[in-house]
């Protein structure tokens, strides 16, 4: 669009009534050339092609000719004018005379030249993807990653038109120059982005009726994280992105506008290039809190752009899978211009940001269990953190090759990441191969195909429970030397010696994954587009574990497990778009259909009593076996109508209906409507003409309503009352599952209302976006309790309700912008309140939540429930005669419990500052949460006086500052261990500087130094409040129990562009 508005090329074509008469008669005085040409055109039937602006400098002419030939007439007209003309095929092309042409050179045709150039922005960075068009011709090219371009054989007097959505367009006259450096000015125009997620058609963000966040590769290229979901932290208003452990391949949870189910999954639907991909966290080996989620397989370097769509109002067209929002990832494609090769290498060191306090007292109790006996004996204390954690090194190498011509584009990349964990001997490595091609088959058909192969492999040191390294530390009696003596590791507690876990136990996983998609885009007739997308995501994850015979774990005779999980997902989507424009209205009708099929299977066996030195289950005694297969599908259709009136107001109405095989016939088909509208106030005449336009050049208000579903809350066959196979004494039997079937269940339904305002102020230097939303989840699937006298323990029913209410504010401000110094600030704040109702159980105790994480009416999902301190009227803790704190009891003297904490954050915020000083770029991102509780289970164990007594509070007991056994008294008062987990982190800090050489043939370099998680400001007594023992669990959140803390890291990254 831009190009055509910058210059006006007038093509006057006429089917002349006068036939092809060549003789022209003219009598005109003081006439503009334009008028003369028109007259000649009328008489001759020849078309005239010229640039209006070329005529602006011309003189008016007096002409009087009778029946003269065309060429002679033209010569007379432009005599003394700075113009030339050519006549071919009944077209007269009028051009400006080459300015430097001397009289002698008149006869010589203008010399074609080869032009090379480089486009850089005010930060002296190359700008990729800038269109360089030769004015008045069809010649064009685009800059590559180095910002360079080349145009061969163009006129030396040509004018180049430089344009791209992110820069101010400009024109440059060559004036014979063959080497150019073009300085362009970047424009901050996040609202001009085009969004496709949730709309099924490309829509300018300016026109959207709902909130969508768009991130570009620049936003996450210096994040210092290995997975794309981790890189999202702090960059999307209303999104809580949490790394659940510090394992080398750690899992990440994303919550868009809060948790939105009890038993399902609240992680958003993830799509890559329009294809739904699998982001499950299968736990083949029970790593206890450090399961990988499969988005870890995607290399962030391959990503061009990410769109985050937050709720039902926006995502309704994804139907039964849209409750948690949609994150759509767009991978890079080849761009026109010469072949681009990019190589990146990173070297990173990861380290434990802080150690926690341990008992350092040089004495121990003679009789720890007897509080009356205060005798002590000397002891040497050890800090096992020094033995299990060590700074680790990560290397990340990436190579890509891309290019395109008019018909074909390609993008090829390969990478190798080796991420060593801070827990000794643990690592994660990833090999990716990615290829993406587009092919224009015919003018009306375009094919795109993408292939992605990933091999992810990890050596996992189990961190938790009976045979973990971190649990071994938390539970260890630190008055015992943990080092092996004559090859035998001493037992430090009932759990494994962590040193032995690191040295001798072997746990690991490997995933082989293939993601492929084919897309066809067809222009059926003008106005009708047809798209078909077929995608496959297939992976096999293998896991194994081995604990050798004779060890300190609870399986002293050895333990082995092996398991395989395979998953296949297939999608087929078709989209038909029909658009029509009238003078005032713009209509787009979209219809679509989808079929999604998935199948998975798990096979897993465990054995103990192994044969010596055998690492497989084969020699051992099989103790557990799992063999399960699941199949399901979803079929859906949607219809959407978009109507826009004069760039002022638009409305979108859509309906989606879909059916999932998970539900019985009667409840299968579900309908989800949505409607949204946007009013671009700043486009109205009264605004434009008033003073308001100066203050607020852009203002939009919007409102959206939508419904969506969630099918993750129920398994493929959960509607049936199932009899599980059992094997007993060699005979196969059947026993009813604990869950009673219910064929009347249906998908959970979310009804979301959202209103928002977007504005640009202060000369468009400040852009602001505010959203208010209300999400109501009804028909929430609750595994409601059953009376035991039914023979069953639970049954799924659509009885629950949940609400998420909140707001989001995000802003971007260009504080300073000069050639040498630029400062941009981006920030966002969001608030969310979650509440559950009508679960028809006193409370639901969530599996894996230590009987503490519950769902209870009027509280947030996953609230903590437990014992609390008995307090007097003044609120002081009641102690007994020995000074021991007491638990609160109810009126009957029964130990009382109540809701004592909430792991859901109230506020999430972030602030990103970007500075550029000359070519040096400094970027730092602070982000944090406020009003979030963490259950510090580690402290509960470590400060228990009688057990292992390695916590810092035991020191006080030994010194006599607290009565002996105080920690034991606290042990069963859970309130004590609920801590405020609010934090503010320096999440990302990066400094980068480009290095360019005079010789253009040399590659350009970019050097970055990136820090991640370097500083955390919090009052939390553990390692890091950002942690979760329950991994990617939906509602069991923020349990700090024997989980590897998230490390800090510093990375040196070099990118080379050829």
């Amino acid at each position: 669009m831009k190009i055509t508005t910058v210059f006006l090329l007038t093509v006057a074509l006429q089917a002349s009534a006068n036939g092809f008469g060549q003789k022209i008669t003219l009598f005109m005085k003081n006439a503009p050339l334009e008028q003369v040409f028109k007259e000649i055109q009328k008489q001759s039937g020849y078309a005239f092609v010229y640039f209006n602006e070329d005529l602006t400098l011309t003189k008016k002419v007096d002409i009087n000719v009778q029946s003269l030939g065309l060429t002679e007439v033209l010569e007379r007209c432009i005599k003394d004018q700075p113009l030339t003309f050519t006549v071919t095929d009944k077209i007269v092309v009028i051009r400006k005379k080459p300015t430097e042409v001397t009289a002698l050179a008149v006869e010589i045709a203008p010399l074609p030249v080869d032009v090379r150039g480089r486009v850089i922005n005010e930060k002296n960075e190359p700008v990729e993807g800038v269109t360089i068009a030769v004015k008045g011709t069809a010649r064009a090219t685009a800059t590559d990653v180095n910002g360079t371009f080349e145009l061969k054989g163009i006129e030396e007097g040509a004018t180049l038109m430089i344009s791209n959505v992110n820069i101010e367009s400009q024109e440059i006259k060559l004036n014979g120059k063959a080497e150019l450096t073009i300085n362009v000015k970047t424009v901050v125009r996040s609202l001009d982005e085009v969004v496709v997620t949730g709309t099924a058609m490309a829509v300018s963000k300016r026109k959207l009726g709902n909130a969508v966040t768009v991130l570009k590769s620049d936003d996450f290229s210096v994040s210092g994280s290995t997975s794309i979901d981790a890189a999202l932290a702090g960059k999307v208003a209303g999104a809580q992105v949490m790394q659940n452990s510090g394992d080398a391949g750690a899992g990440i949870s994303i919550r868009l506008r809060g948790v939105s189910t009890i038993f399902g999954n609240s992680d958003p639907l993830i799509m890559i290039d329009g294809v739904i991909i699998n982001n499950e966290s299968p736990t083949i080996i029970d790593q206890q809190g450090t399961a990988q989620n499969r988005l870890v397989d995607i290399n962030p370097n391959d990503i061009e752009r990410i769109e985050v769509v937050k709720g039902a109002a926006a995502a309704a067209i994804y139907g039964s899978r849209a409750n948690n929002g949609v994150v759509q990832i767009f991978t890079k494609k080849g761009k026109k211009g010469r072949t681009t090769i990019q190589f990146q290498t990173g070297l990173r060191t990861n380290f434990l940001r802080k150690k926690i306090e341990v008992n350092r007292y040089p004495e121990t109790w003679v009789e720890p269990n007897n509080n009356a006996n205060k005798n002590k004996m000397p002891a040497t204390r050890y800090d096992l953190q020094e033995d299990i954690f060590k700074p680790s090194v990560t290397t990340d190498n990436y190579l890509s090759l891309s290019g395109a011509n008019d018909q074909t584009s390609y993008f090829l990349s390969g990478s190798y990441l080796k991420n060593k964990g801070i827990l000794k001997a643990s690592d994660f490595q990833r090999i990716t191969l990615n290829a993406r091609f587009t092919q224009n088959v015919t003018p009306w058909a375009k094919l795109e195909y993408g292939l992605n192969y990933i091999n992810s492999k990890s050596n996992d040191i189990p961190s938790s429970r009976g045979f973990g390294a971190v649990s071994g530390f938390v539970f260890a009696n630190n008055a015992i030397n943990p080092a092996p003596s004559f090859g035998v590791y001493p037992k430090l507690s009932t759990l494994s010696n962590p040193l032995e876990v690191i040295d001798r136990f072997k746990f690991g996983q490997e995933t082989n994954r293939f993601i492929g998609n084919v897309q066809g885009k067809f222009k059926v007739t003008p106005g009708i587009d047809f798209t078909i997308i077929t995608g496959v995501d297939n992976y096999t994850q293998r896991g194994s574990g081995y604990i050798p015979v004779s060890n300190t774990s609870n399986t002293p005779n050895g333990y082995a497990l092996t398991g395989t999980y395979t998953s296949l997902q297939f999608n087929n989507d078709v989209l038909i778009n029909y658009s029509k424009k009238t003078n005032s209205f713009n209509y787009v009708t979209t219809a679509g259909g989808t079929y999604q099929y998935s199948r998975n299977s798990i096979f897993r066996i465990e054995a103990d009593n192994l044969s010596l030195l055998s690492q497989s289950t084969e020699g051992g005694r099989i103790t557990s076996r799992t063999d399960k297969r699941t199949e399901r599908d979803i079929t859906g259709y949607f219809l959407q109508q978009f109507v826009e009136y004069k760039d002022l107001v638009n409305i979108t109405i859509a309906g989606r209906t879909d059916a999932s095989s998970v539900f019985s016939k009667d409840n299968r088909w579900q309908f989800y409507p949505k409607v949204n509208t946007a009013i671009l106030l700043s486009n109205f005449e009264f605004w434009k003409n008033g003073n308001l336009a100066n203050a607020i050049p852009y203002l939009k208000i919007r409102a959206a309503y939508g419904q969506s579903g969630n099918v993750t809350g129920i398994g493929a066959y959960d509607r049936y009352t199932i009899y599980n196979p059992v094997n007993y004494n060699g005979l196969g039997g059947l026993a009813p599952a604990t869950q009673l079937g219910n064929t009347t269940v249906k998908p959970e339904r979310q009804i979301e209302k959202e209103i928002g305002i977007e504005a640009e102020l202060f000369n468009r230097k400040l852009s602001v976006e505010v959203n208010l939303y209300h999400k109501k989840l009804k028909d929430l699937l609750v595994e409601r309790s059953m009376a035991g006298s039914s023979g069953f323990a639970s049954r799924f029913e659509n009885i629950g309700e949940m609400t998420n209410k909140g707001w989001e504010l995000s802003a971007r401000y260009n504080v300073l912008n000069s050639k040498t110094f630029q400062w941009d600030v981006t920030g966002n704040v969001s608030y969310n309140k979650n509440k559950v109702d009508n679960i028809q159980s006193t409370r639901i105790v969530l599996a894996g939540g230590f009987d503490v994480a519950v769902v209870q009416n009027s509280y947030a999902a996953g609230a903590y429930y437990g014992t609390y301190y008995a307090r007097d009227e003044k609120g002081n803790i009641v102690t007994d005669n020995n000074g021991m704190p007491q638990r609160a009891v109810d009126a009957n003297g029964v130990i009382d419990k109540k809701i004592i904490g909430d792991p859901n954050p109230e506020y999430i915020y972030s602030l990103i500052n970007e500075f550029r000083i000359h070519r040096l770029k400094i970027r730092f991102q602070f982000d944090g949460v406020q009003g979030m509780d963490v259950f510090n289970y580690n402290r509960r164990i470590m400060n228990q006086s009688n057990l292992y007594a390695n916590g810092p509070q035991i020191e006080k007991e030994l010194k006599g500052e607290l009565p002996k056994g105080y920690g034991t008294a606290q042990f069963n008062i859970f309130e004590e261990f609920i801590e405020d987990g609010s934090y503010l982190k320096l999440r990302e800090l990066s400094v980068s500087h480009p290095i360019t050489f005079k010789n253009r043939k040399w590659p350009t370099l970019n050097l970055s130094l990136i820090g991640r998680n370097l500083v955390s400001i919090d009052n939390y007594s553990g390692w890091d409040p950002e942690i979760n023992y329950a991994g990617q669990s939906n509602a069991v959140r923020n349990f700090d129990f024997t989980t590897i803390p998230v490390p800090a890291s510093v990375e040196l990254k070099i990118a080379v562009n050829f």
Binding site: F522, G733, P736, S790, G791, A793, G893, L947
Partner: protein, 433 residues
């Protein structure tokens, strides 16, 4: 035109694909499928014994903790509440829920067998066998329910509205079931087919029925009947719950696998063990250790509690002690002492539980004899899940409102599970303690 053809193809493909929505679950059959064939019923019958022998046995841990046979060696709230007893035991306690749910589920499965045995093709012998077998297991489940709760359920209801009966009625229902089983087996013994397909000679249904009859008659103070039933038990036949690698001995699992949950207290949790009582060595191995949380002296567990070791359905010693007690309570003291001495002097027990003690030399009074019977029950039937019932029946001291860790029992009865009270309005009030 070509494009339109493509389009048509794709739309067709979508429609075709969407037609197959009813996937069969390859992992497990539905209830309807299970109960409607002879193979299904055989499989459920196997499921009953597997379920009872594994999940049903968590009651032994609860019983053991409440009656001081065991000490908790873990920080799990469920265990500590039982050990603490009194008001600390909440209706949410996982063991309270576990026992209630397991017994109701066992009974539910037996109901499925009893309801459907007539509806599928079975030979009359096999049908009788299946019914007798189901009646035995249901009776065992009802007996356990009555041990822990003041009221119980005889017929389960999926509608959350099952009726409650007091424990005496529950026990009488169990007796009726066992009498019925005994009568059925008098008509036709367990069929070869049913034995091969289900029982595999692990237990003798007829003997079990009479052993349990002797127990339940005793609990309902029908001493003469208890004696008749007890005398019908062939004490040389073993009936046991077997275990294997996939179904490990549940007590072994609780004590040894993973994080240790419980350990036996010193002296079976009694003040003292009689000198020379060889059953101590059978069940316990000395250990100079205390439990981790409440600091109670503990030993190492032996007995029937190894990974794959079978656990007796009932011990011959129990039948003898049932007889001794029934005689003693009907004031036939000589017969009482005769059966008591059989236990005290036993050296050839089929399960190896041999006290090898001298005959009873105490006073020939009913209280004194009952006292020694109680002692012998505590030791002979260690961790057989009988001590709570015994402790109440023998009038042992009831727990104070805030019991310490050494009062003989920490509760009389359990509160009803919270999920029951919440969902079934027929749930009676909880016992005070």
């Amino acid at each position: 035109m070509k494009i339109r053809k493509y389009l048509l193809h794709i739309v067709l493909l979508l429609c075709l694909a969407s037609c197959t929505k009813d996937y069969t679950n390859p992992n497990a059959p539905t209830e309807e499928e299970s109960v409607s064939s002879r193979q299904g019923l055989f499989a459920i019958a196997i499921g009953v014994k597997q379920y009872y022998a594994t999940f049903g046995f968590s009651s032994l841990v609860a019983n053991g903790l409440v009656t001081r046979e065991l000490a908790a060696t873990n920080t799990f709230t469920g265990l500590l509440e039982l050990e603490e007893g009194g008001g600390a035991l909440t209706p949410e306690n996982s063991y309270v829920n576990g026992i209630w749910n397991a017994m109701n589920k066992t009974s539910y499965m037996c109901n499925q067998l009893l309801d459907n045995a007539e509806k599928v093709d079975l030979s009359p012998e096999t049908r009788n066998s299946m019914k007798a077998y189901a009646q035995l297991y249901k009776a065992m489940a009802l007996g356990q329910m009555a041990e822990f709760f003041t009221n119980g359920i005889i017929t389960q209801s999926k509608e959350n509205n099952a009726a409650f009966f007091n424990r005496d009625s529950v026990l009488k229902a169990a007796i009726a079931l066992l009498e019925n089983a005994d009568a059925l087996l008098a008509q036709t013994p367990i069929s070869q087919e049913f034995n091969n397909a289900v029982i595999k000679s692990e237990l003798d249904v007829k003997n079990c029925a009479n052993a349990f009859l002797s127990r339940y008659y005793l609990l309902t103070a029908q001493y003469a009947k208890a004696i008749t039933a007890g005398l019908k038990v062939n004490l040389t036949v073993k009936s046991q719950f077997v275990y294997d690698a996939q179904n490990t001995n549940p007590i072994y699992t609780a004590v040894y696998v993973g994080v240790q949950n419980v350990a036996p207290r010193d002296n079976f949790g009694l003040p003292a063990v009689q000198t020379g009582d060889k059953r101590r060595e059978f069940y316990l191995e000395p250990l100079a250790a205390n439990s981790t949380v409440n600091n109670i002296p503990i030993e190492k567990l032996k007995g029937f509690f190894d990974a794959n070791k079978a656990v007796p359905v009932y011990l011959p010693g129990e039948v003898m002690l049932n007889l001794a007690e029934a005689y003693a309570r009907s004031s036939q003291l000589n017969s009482a002492v005769q059966y008591l001495d059989m236990v005290r002097t036993k050296t050839n027990d089929i399960f190896g539980v041999n006290a090898t003690l001298p005959p009873y030399t105490g006073a020939a009074t009913q209280p004194a004899i009952l006292e020694d019977i109680y002692y012998n029950r505590c030791v002979e039937l260690f961790l057989q899940g009988l001590r709570l019932e015994d402790s109440r029946r023998f009038g042992r001291p009831a727990p104070p409102n805030t019991p310490d860790f050494y009062s003989e029992r920490s509760r009389n009865y359990f509160p009803f599970p919270a999920s029951e009270r919440l969902n079934n309005k027929n749930t009676p009030g909880d016992p005070a303690i």
